[in-house]
Amino acid sequence: MATIARKQTVAVQPQGANVREQLRAMDDSGVVTAFLSGEERAFSELVDRYQTRLLNFIYRTIGDREKAEDLVQEVFIRVYRHLHRFDRSKKFSTWAYTIASNLAKNELRNRSRNPLVLFQAVQKNWQEDDRPLQFEDSSSRPDDMYRKRHLRELVEESVAKLPEHHRHVFVLRELEGKSYEEIAEITDCNLGTVKSRLNRARNSFAEIVAPYMD
């Protein structure tokens, strides 16, 4: 029995230099299985796949880059600790986003209780370092660049103005491209609520941004 188990583990745990490539070719479920069979490198693969996506999701939800990184790390720590409890009949990405969503919600709740944290976060959010340069096109004229940067800030501000539960759904749908069903699972709401929140969020966002678009 023990021999069969060992053989199975070996099969899932490919030896050699191309382990990473093999892991990269697997879908999420395969990578999770490999990790649970003892292949530690599979966890790095999961981190590679999700770090940027989760970072952007949390960043757009809470608006603080540094804190967003901390929370993404916390997501991965929780994934590492509790992966053995993950129901493998479900999608790994939904599970990871659910953890991220809960952490983001907690962060926003804590901030609302502590105005000082909110102030620091807002201040950080508008620091020069946080502005990604790729948004501006170097071939553009300086006034165009300024306009674009201004527009970007405006869009970010407008998202931040949305109510928390609307923003959550909005980011998951528009940025992460999640289906209504997945959003319902991640946010623990029914489908009707998700649709209604998304519709309201879209309308509110458009209303805020509209005057600056022409």
Partner: protein, 189 residues
């Protein structure tokens, strides 16, 4: 003629959409999840209603702006920090597992002690508490008279009948073995 009118009205009702319907279905319209017939109705309404057409354009343009926001990348020391935090988490987990084992053992000891104490207490309570005793049936006996216990001993009765005073008889009774022993010593000499 009337039938024709009804049919035309019904057809128009099927195809014509009011602004409220349009707004209600706009979410699915933007996400391209509407069935074919509804999609055509929405598109027809767009060509007819300027206000809804403007609303649709605003929504789509604002969404495009949001979707085109630059993606941020993790900082260069993200992986290093994550690795460090994972190590810490592993150590914490190991410590927690150890302490939980100790706690479980402690709980087991405490539980068994409590059970034992409870058992001892229960047993002691059983001893102290008078139980429903089954006593033998009460038998009525005539009380023995005081006089019976005060009756003289048979020796005294015998002494009295011989006319000897009681103390003399008792003295003889005490001295008798000594007396006989001294006679035996005398004859042996």
């Amino acid at each position: 003629m009337r039938v024709m009118r009804v049919l035309v009205l019904r057809t128009l009702k099927t195809w014509i959409m009011d602004c409220r319907d349009f707004r209600d279905q706009h979410l699915a319209f933007v996400d391209d999840t509407l069935p074919g017939v509804e999609l055509v109705r929405m598109q027809m309404h767009l060509t007819e209603c300027e206000e809804c057409a403007r609303h649709d354009a605003t929504i789509r343009r604002s969404l495009m702006l949001f979707r085109n926001l630059p993606r941020i990348e993790p900082s260069p020391d993200f992986s290093k920090n994550l690795e460090r935090k994972l190590q810490e988490a592993k150590l914490l987990d190991m410590a927690a597992a150890r302490s939980s084992r100790t706690r479980r053992l402690g709980a087991a000891v405490t539980f068994s002690s409590v059970v034992m104490l409870a058992y001892i207490g229960f047993s002691l309570r059983q001893v102290d508490t008078p139980q429903d005793l089954t006593l033998p049936p009460v038998v009525a006996i005539a009380p023995t008279s005081e006089m019976a216990s005060a009756s003289p001993a048979p020796e005294m009765v015998a002494a009295v009948s011989l006319g000897l005073p009681l103390w003399t008889a008792a003295f003889y009774a005490e001295q008798t073995p000594v007396h006989f022993a001294s006679i035996e010593l005398t004859s042996a000499r």
